[in-house]
Structures are given as structure tokens and as C-alpha cells.
């Protein structure tokens, strides 16, 4: 169960944001493909790079932890490791989900320092493959957690910067 540290730095995201921002202004040579995991909050699709995903597990009871930000729902044990679970809805300031639905999933992410974190989402649908030049700049806040929009059919998927999502503004 080794976790590669270093290979998965923030690099891909900065690149991703840059290519999204630059698109349309300059010819982009890179035609590298990206793979994004598509997940949903209500009826809105979001995505994050698959290389940051360690595994996806079904919703299961989470042990609450005191004295932590509200977005941290608690911890669960994953094959002997204890992992914090962040409720993505609460992290983005959305209302908590009323039902702990059958389709809810916990996406387990590699952190930037080898630590794992679970991300509680409403559901997970597919892996999206696209090229850098297909990305568009986000419409939301500059310093938000979304760094790009990726086209899927006739709509766009919001692409997260995982490290920003995991940054809860508490002491490292």
C-alpha cells in the first residue's frame, strides 16, 4: 500500500488552470489527454483528476470527530487506515444532503503529502477523457476551488483543484 509522494504535486492543476485560461488566446501545442472523474452534487457535475483518486467506496457510517470544521464529517477506517471524510456539499457551502442516499460515494484521494482524505459526494458517474485545449476558464470566484470547465455533451463540468478543496484553512 505505497503512496507515491511527489509524483502527484500541484503541477497538473496549475497546468490545467493555465491551459483553461489561455485557451483561445494562443495556439496550444499540447494535445495531451486528461482523465477526469465525474461526480455529482444535486444535478451539477464536477470533476477531479483521476490520478488523485485512490479508490471509491460506498457510503458507510462515519465516526464524528469533535473540534473540527463542520465540513469534516468525521473519520472512517479504510483497511486499517483512519481517514478523514470531507462532505463536499458542506465544503462548497451547499445545504447538507437530506438523505444518505444509496448512491452516495466516498472518493478517497491522495493528499499532496501522502495522506489520504475521503470526499463525500452525491454520486459518481464516469471518467471523462479530454484534451487540454477543450478546457475553458471557470466562471466562479478567482480563488475558488474550481480551476477549469470541461465540456461534456451540451454542458460543462466544473473541474476542481484537489489541493484547494482539501485546504480547510486549518493549521497544517
Amino acid at each position: 500500500m505505497s503512496i507515491e509522494i511527489g509524483a502527484l504535486g500541484p503541477g497538473p492543476f496549475e497546468e490545467l488552470a493555465r491551459s483553461a485560461a489561455l485557451h483561445g488566446q494562443e495556439p496550444i501545442e499540447s494535445t495531451s489527454e486528461r482523465e477526469l472523474l465525474v461526480l455529482w452534487l444535486d444535478d451539477d457535475p464536477y470533476a477531479l483528476p483521476v490520478e488523485r483518486v485512490r479508490e471509491i467506496v460506498r457510503w458507510r457510517p462515519i465516526t464524528p470527530v469533535p473540534r473540527v470544521p463542520a465540513a469534516v464529517r468525521g473519520v472512517l477506517s479504510l483497511r486499517g487506515e483512519i481517514v478523514q471524510v470531507i462532505d463536499l456539499r458542506l465544503r462548497l457551502g451547499l445545504a447538507p444532503s437530506l438523505a444518505e442516499g444509496r448512491r452516495r460515494r466516498i472518493v478517497v484521494l491522495h493528499g499532496d503529502d501522502g495522506q489520504m482524505t475521503g470526499l463525500l459526494v452525491d454520486r459518481v458517474s464516469e471518467v471523462l477523457r479530454l484534451r487540454d485545449e477543450e478546457l475553458r476558464a471557470p466562471t466562479g470566484r478567482d480563488a475558488g476551488t474550481v480551476v477549469a470547465l470541461a465540456p461534456q455533451g451540451d454542458r460543462f463540468v466544473s473541474v476542481f483543484d484537489v489541493d484547494r478543496v482539501l485546504d480547510l484553512g486549518v493549521g497544517a
Partner: protein, 694 residues
């Protein structure tokens, strides 16, 4: 000088192995050097120690060369020279030589730490200069008069001796010991065993100066050796005490104390039966020398293991323990139903035996993680020796309880805090000689470092006989820093405890060795992180004692589970003193803080509900109080109810929130799922702090 490497060698696997091997060698050398310094009292050198050091330096040279660390290899070569000079008597076994060896060991350690593997030109020049000084002093030292008093020793033997062996022979003669020749024949297929047995029994009685193949009319299947022995025993006594048939002792020179007849022979054992042993199958004769074989064997007896591998094993054991619990509850369910009771009984028996074996396995894995504190203590003793030398301050460090064992991880983390406290004692606590004299204290200051096991904890005390801490000065300083009110009512202990507050220093002096007196707060922080606690006691003018209390292991614990609101927490049983059910009317308040009277003493209470923002139980409901203690602090944790005891492997919590005050980690408890483990040390300390702040 060997070519210097310009690149910093990458810390690849090979380098890591090199580093850990060299660390081991250095550790051994430090221990031997310190023993050598202790044993040197009579101006004589323990030859066994000098030889061991020489072998260590030799291995160091070898492996450093093999891995391309030429700087280390060079230094090791110089160490060999010095050690050779010492054991051959060419170099006086005085402090300068030992100090130089100490220094070279530290320089190598420094190179290892910096990852350079090479020495900065300046430091190298310095060491070279020291070496030259030693060599010069050696040259000026008149070599011990070579008395040609080797009468009685066969010329054929003298010819076969190496320079070192001859030196030892002369030394032994000078010391007035008897010289004997012990001869024995061995089956050629198993001579190693026989010879090492013989050497072992002779060593118990004296020094084996040389092992020589002996000519003689022995059968072809046998090989004959003679051991040149220096001893206080006479030949007859030596012969009778060597419990080996077929060994003969021949006296060459009587000891000055007990004259014997030169040339007389005594049988080694009463019944000189033939020493015939069947060669065990698979054992092949070896042509190489005995000492080579010995050293190969000793290496294979210990295995270096990455502590992370032990963690993995520990995790596996933890998971087995959880599954064992599940099997136990299945057995109980089967037993409860008459239809399956038979199978339940069988399963229950199996479960019991599994439990026993698992307990053994757990204990075994835990034991492997344990290391004696001696390693850390020796480092400290080295530091004190160096400080004594550099600062010219006469301070003795007494070490007791170095055999006390602790989890390797804890020992590692403990080195810095202990070092800090010892340096503080050396630097600030122990007064200058003049002050000591006028206070009627012995000129030599004393620091006592003592470890002992107390139940599931290890207590380490650092006590000095210095000037002690002036509580009034601490109060003033704490007030200046705004930590306490001018008129705060504090007990002596509470005042002393203030030295652990950030920024508080008990001296205004700034020194190189212990910095600005900052750091007791860091000491406490480090110890708390290990689930331990640190306290100080001090008598002005008499001295200061810093007491560390630490759990023996972090890996696996017995835990008490308790319920609070709809949650469950685990409390390490090592911190639990007792539990009780309490009627709420028994709870008193003082300035809004709850306490309980327990055996005539007030016990402060903390409600976990309030601590963790959980809903309180209905007023008037009976609650459970878990009395926890660390060091001499006591606290009653109020919970809704207590459940049971479980084995728990505490795991760190991964994720964006790095630490939660009051939570040590989490554990998986079978049916109960994931349960948070309380960090009792921090809860107890927080409660104490609130009292101070009040």
C-alpha cells in the same frame, strides 16, 4: 588525500544501508570508548576493548571504502593507527588519545548526518593537525623498555607471534602473570567448535595471547592447537579448571605470586578420554582462520529491521485481534442458541486458544520494538563529557537504569528533550566551582540520569545538585510576561510548572550550549506528543529534578470504551486509575468548576460533553466518572456510561485537519466500528492550565 567528491551522494537505498550500518558501528565505538575511559583508571588499557575498537574502525574503513565514502574511510584508517598505537603500547592510553578518538567518531557522525560523506576542508585540516600532534607525542614518548626477559618461552613460539601478540606477552610478564601453553587436539571436521569451547573456558581464567597450530604426532583426522595463555592461575589449577578432555597445560613462566615448576605438565581433566566427536552432517571443514569465522557468526545473529516493517506487523496483529473478537462474539451467539450450542462450544474453545496465541504474538512483536534507553543515555554522557572538556566545568553524570526498555519510536523522540534538560542542568543549574565551595557543596557538580519502569510507564529523572529554581524569580518573570496576575495564589508546584510556559526562562544568561533558556515549553510539547508528561521539582540551593513519565509503547494498548451522548470514545487503560458511578448531587462546584470528593481529596472534573460540544445528559441522571492520572495530576472525566475493555491499535488520523486537541488518534474495534482514542495527557494538561488561568 583522496579525491573529494563534489556531488552530494543521493540517499538511495544503498546509501541508507550504509548510513544505518555506520551508525551502528559508531554507536558501538562510542560505547567502547566510554568503557575504555572508565576502565583506564590504573593507566592500563583493557586489551579486549582496544581490540574491539580496532575491529570497529577496521569495518568502518572497509564499508566506507566499499560505498565510496573516501573521507570516512580515511578517518577510519587514522583511527586504526591510533588504536593500533594504543593496543601495541606505542601510545600512552591517556586522555589525549581518547579525546581524539571521541572527536573522530563525532566528526564521522557529523558527516553522516549532513549526508556529505566527505569532510569540509577546514574540519579535515583540524583533524589532521590533531592526528599529527598525537603522532608527534607518540614519537617523543620513549617506547617502553624492551626487557629481554622472555626466558622460558620457546623460541619457536616467539617466532610465530605477531608484533601485537608479543607486546601482550611482554605486558603480561611485566604484570607478573604466569604464562602457560595449553595444547589440545581436535577432530578436523569439528575443530572450530572444540577450539572455541577451549578458548572460551581459558578466557574465563586469563588472556589468550595467541592461538597457534601445534606440531605433533596427531592422527590425520585430527588437528592440534596450542594456546599461549597469560593468567594468574598456576598450570595445575588451569588444567583442572579447563573442563576439556585431551587438553594439556604446560607451564612456561610462573606468575610472580605463585611459583610453579617450569616444564611440569598437568592433565587437563581427570579422565583424558579421546576427544572424538562425530561431525554433524552438512558441516564442512573451513580453511580460514578462527577469528574470521567468529565475526561472521556474530553478524548473522542480529537482524536490522526497518521500524516501519514492525509497524506493519503490528497492524496485522491488530487486525487479527479484531477478527478474534468477531470470532468470539460469533461463538457466543452460537452458544446462546440450543440448536447450535454444540458447535458454539467447539468454536469457543478454538477461540480461547487463538486468544492465547495472539496474546503471545502481540507480546512478541511488541518486544521486538523495545530498545534499552542506554543508547540515548550514552549519547547524553558523551555530550556531558564534551561539555566538561570544552567548558572546563567539573560535572559528573551518573546514569542508572539504562537497561529500562521503551518503544524504539519513543526513545528516538526522547533524545532531544532529554538532551535539552541535561544541558540546562549542566549550564545553568550547576554553579561555578567558587559558588559551590562557598555553599559548602562538593566542587564536582552532579547530574543523575535515572530510568525505571513503573507499571505500563517508564519514569526518567534528571536530577542535579545545582542552585535550584527560585520560585520568586519564576513568578516575577511569569508576571512580566503576562502569564499570571501579580497576586495570583499559586502553590509551589504550580509556580515551578510555569517554567514550561513559552518564553519563560529562569536565567537571563545566553550561552552556546543551552541557548536562551527557551525550550522547556518545547520539551513539554514533545513529551506530550508521546502521550507522556513532564514535571519539575526544585529546592532552591539544593537542586532541581525533572521527571518524565512515558508510556512504554505507542503501538497497542488496552482501552476502556465509554459512551458520551451518542458517541463512543476509547481511553488508554494505562492512564485510567479507577472508574465509578456518581450521583449528580455528589458533584460540587467551586467558581463554576466541578469537582468531586474522592477519599477525602478534591478531584477536578471535566465533562466530555462540554469538552467536545456534545449534548449533555438529562439533569439528575447518574453519570460515570473515569479517574485518569498522569504523573501526579488527576482528573475525573465525566461520561454517560462505561462500556468495556478492548485491545486497540492507535492509528493517526489522516486528512486535512492535522491534529485535534484531546484526540490521540482512532482505532478500529470490530463491531463497534471506528472509535476515537482520547489523548489523556493533553486533557489533563488543559484542565491544569485552566486552573492556572483561573
Amino acid at each position: 588525500m583522496a579525491a573529494r567528491r563534489t556531488q552530494k551522494p543521493a540517499r538511495n537505498r544503498a546509501t541508507r544501508e550504509f548510513v544505518s550500518e555506520v551508525e551502528e558501528i559508531l554507536e558501538r565505538m562510542r560505547a567502547d570508548l566510554s568503557d575504555l575511559a572508565d576502565a583506564r583508571a590504573g593507566g592500563r588499557l583493557d586489551p579486549e576493548l582496544a581490540n574491539r575498537l580496532f575491529r570497529s574502525a577496521h569495518s568502518l574503513k572497509g564499508i566506507a571504502g566499499m560505498f565510496g565514502f573516501e573521507g570516512v574511510s580515511d578517518l577510519a584508517h587514522h583511527m586504526e593507527d591510533i588504536l593500533d598505537g594504543l593496543r601495541m603500547g606505542r601510545l600512552p592510553p591517556g586522555a589525549p588519545a581518547l579525546a581524539l578518538l571521541d572527536e573522530v567518531v563525532e566528526v564521522v557522525a557529523g558527516m553522516l548526518e549532513s549526508g556529505e560523506g566527505e569532510l569540509a576542508a577546514g574540519a579535515l585540516a583540524q583533524v589532521q593537525a590533531l592526528i599529527e600532534r598525537i603522532v608527534a607525542s607518540l614519537a617523543s614518548e620513549a617506547p617502553p623498555a624492551a626487557d629481554d626477559d622472555l626466558d622460558g618461552i620457546d623460541a619457536s613460539i616467539l617466532r610465530a607471534l605477531t608484533e601485537y601478540e608479543e607486546h601482550r606477552l611482554r605486558e603480561s610478564l611485566r604484570a607478573g602473570r604466569a604464562i602457560h601453553l595449553v595444547e589440545a587436539s581436535f577432530e578436523i571436521l569439528s575443530f572450530e567448535e572444540g577450539l572455541s569451547e577451549l578458548t572460551g573456558s581459558v578466557r574465563a581464567l586469563g588472556e589468550v595471547l595467541s592461538t597457534l597450530p601445534a606440531p605433533g604426532d596427531s592422527p590425520d583426522s585430527q588437528i592440534r592447537f596450542s594456546l599461549l595463555v597469560a593468567t594468574e592461575c598456576d598450570a595445575a589449577e588451569l588444567g583442572s579448571r579447563i573442563d576439556l578432555p585431551n587438553a594439556m597445560v604446560r607451564a612456561m613462566r610462573a606468575s610472580r605470586a605463585t611459583p610453579t615448576q617450569p616444564g611440569s605438565a598437568a592433565p587437563a581433566a581427570s579422565a583424558p578420554t579421546e576427544l572424538l566427536r562425530d561431525a554433524s552432517p552438512g558441516e564442512s571443514p573451513r580453511a580460514d582462520g578462527g577469528s574470521e569465522i567468529e565475526s561472521l557468526k556474530s553478524i548473522s545473529e542480529t537482524v536490522r529491521v526497518d521500524i516501519r516493517k514492525l509497524d506493519e506487523l503490528m497492524n496485522l496483529v491488530g487486525e487479527l485481534v479484531i477478527q478474534r473478537g468477531a470470532i468470539g462474539s460469533l461463538a457466543d451467539r452460537l452458544l446462546a442458541d440450543p440448536a447450535t450450542a454444540r458447535a458454539g462450544l467447539e468454536l469457543s474453545k478454538l477461540h480461547k486458544s487463538l486468544e492465547r496465541r495472539l496474546t503471545d504474538l502481540q507480546a512478541g512483536v511488541l518486544e521486538v520494538r523495545m530498545v534499552p534507553l542506554r543508547q540515548v543515555f550514552e549519547k547524553l554522557s558523551r555530550v556531558v563529557r564534551r561539555l566538561r572538556r570544552d567548558l572546563g566545568k567539573d560535572v559528573r553524570l551518573d546514569i542508572r537504569g539504562g537497561d529500562t526498555e521503551l518503544d524504539k519510536l519513543i526513545v528516538e523522540q526522547l533524545a532531544d528533550p532529554l538532551m535539552h534538560v541535561v544541558r540546562n542542568a549542566f549550564d545553568h543549574a550547576i554553579e561555578p566551582a567558587a559558588d559551590r565551595a562557598s555553599a559548602g557543596k562538593p566542587a564536582e557538580g552532579s547530574i543523575r540520569l535515572e530510568a525505571l519502569q513503573r507499571g505500563n510507564h517508564v519514569v526518567i529523572e534528571v536530577a542535579d545538585d545545582g542552585r535550584g529554581i527560585d520560585p520568586e524569580a519564576v513568578r516575577q518573570r511569569a508576571h512580566t510576561l503576562g502569564l499570571i496576575e501579580q497576586d495570583a495564589v499559586l502553590s509551589r508546584k504550580e509556580v515551578l510548572d510555569l517554567i514550561f510556559a513559552p518564553g519563560l526562562s529562569t536565567t537571563t544568561e545566553v550561552t552556546e550550549t543551552s541557548g536562551r533558556g527557551v525550550g522547556m515549553d518545547v520539551v513539554r510539547e514533545n513529551v506530550t506528543a508521546l502521550g507522556g508528561i513532564v514535571h519539575v521539582d526544585s529546592q532552591p540551593g539544593r537542586g532541581t529534578t525533572v521527571v518524565f513519565t512515558l508510556p512504554i509503547t505507542l503501538a497497542i494498548i488496552r482501552a476502556l470504551t465509554v459512551g458520551v451522548a451518542d458517541q463512543r470514545f476509547a481511553i488508554p487503560l494505562t492512564t485510567v486509575l479507577e472508574t465509578m458511578l456518581v450521583d449528580p448531587v455528589a458533584i460540587q462546584r467551586s467558581e463554576g468548576r466541578e469537582f468531586l470528593t474522592l477519599r477525602g481529596e478534591p478531584l477536578p472534573l471535566r465533562r466530555l460533553h462540554a469538552e467536545f460540544g456534545l449534548p449533555s445528559p438529562p439533569a439528575g441522571a447518574r453519570v460515570a466518572v473515569v479517574v485518569v492520572g498522569l504523573g501526579d495530576l488527576r482528573l475525573g472525566l465525566v461520561v454517560d456510561h462505561r462500556e468495556g475493555q478492548q485491545d486497540a491499535v492507535i492509528k493517526p488520523i489522516q486528512g486535512p485537519v492535522r491534529s485535534v486537541r484531546g484526540i490521540a488518534g482512532a482505532t478500529e474495534l470490530g463491531d463497534l466500528g471506528t472509535v476515537l482514542v482520547l489523548d489523556v495527557a493533553s486533557l489533563v494538561e488543559d484542565a491544569a492550565k485552566r486552573r492556572e488561568a483561573a
